[in-house]
């Protein structure tokens, strides 16, 4: 899909190396294929609003950034609940579609499902184009 992933935690690059070689490579062949960044002191996390000062770690924040560098989406969770990667992929595909076509993707959109063409003609007519059960 042409997406660069960057993983960031407050751990140093040395800890990243060992985690990759000692645990991740056993979970996933070859380990994770993306860069693991070191954010000592949570300075980058602070600027992104995800640094938990009291705990000294970054929260589970995830930002989708488009090719112009604009943040299109963010999702922040407290540490105990993991992310939903399927939803992340769905969102990236949706934003890529919007960027390419200028159309809007309704709730629960999946590639191939109907999109909406925003404009004055659509006002009050969305019910004709889309039904709520299409969100699932």
């Amino acid at each position: 899909m042409g997406v660069e992933v960057m993983a960031v935690s407050t751990d140093s690059r040395f800890v990243h190396k060992i985690w990759q070689t000692e645990e991740l490579a056993k979970m996933v062949p070859g380990g994770v294929p993306y860069p693991m960044l070191a954010d000592a002191g949570g300075k980058i996390g602070t600027v992104y609003g995800v640094y938990d000062d009291a705990a000294g770690v970054n929260l589970r924040g995830r930002f989708i950034i488009d090719p112009d560098g604009v943040i299109q989406a963010m999702e922040v969770l407290t540490p105990s609940v993991g992310r939903n990667v399927t939803e992340l992929i769905r969102q990236v595909k949706a934003f890529q579609h919007v960027r390419k076509t200028g159309e809007a993707t309704p709730s629960g959109w999946q590639p191939g499902k109907p999109t909406l063409k925003p404009g004055p003609d659509l006002v009050g007519k969305v019910w004709k184009e889309w039904k709520p059960d299409q969100a699932f």
């Binding site: 899909m1 070191a38 954010d39 950034i65 943040i71």
Partner: protein, 113 residues
């Protein structure tokens, strides 16, 4: 006269005896620092928005760093030490300009979720 000269000679020798090893140690320290700095230079952390003609400055101010990330706005650039493809490297967010980026923060390595 010769006695004073002897005294002077002894003092000079003593000083040399102390100074030379110290200087050598400094040289060693210098060499060691070179080795350390040849690995990866410290990363600048969050970068201040670039003004024309000036290199990206570190935005690590002691006073409260404000949250600059907003959905719909340009993502704050930063530079960080990274472990990538088996090597240590400094990476910037702006290295990905022209591509989609997913930036994932997480609490820590070796934690559970």
């Amino acid at each position: 006269m010769p006695r004073r000269f002897c005294l002077w000679l002894m003092m000079a020798a003593a000083l040399l005896f102390i100074a030379l090893p110290a200087a050598a140690a400094d040289k060693d320290k210098g060499k060691k620092q070179d080795l350390d700095s040849s690995c990866v230079s410290p990363a600048k952390g969050p970068l201040a928005p670039q003004t024309k003609g000036q290199p990206a400055a570190s935005a690590n101010q002691p006073q409260a760093a404000s949250v600059r990330a907003r959905v719909g706005k340009v993502a704050p650039d930063f530079e960080a030490n990274a472990f990538v493809n088996g090597a240590f490297k400094n990476l910037k967010l702006s290295d990905n300009k022209g591509k989609w980026t997913v930036l994932c923060f997480y609490p820590g390595d070796f934690t559970f979720v």
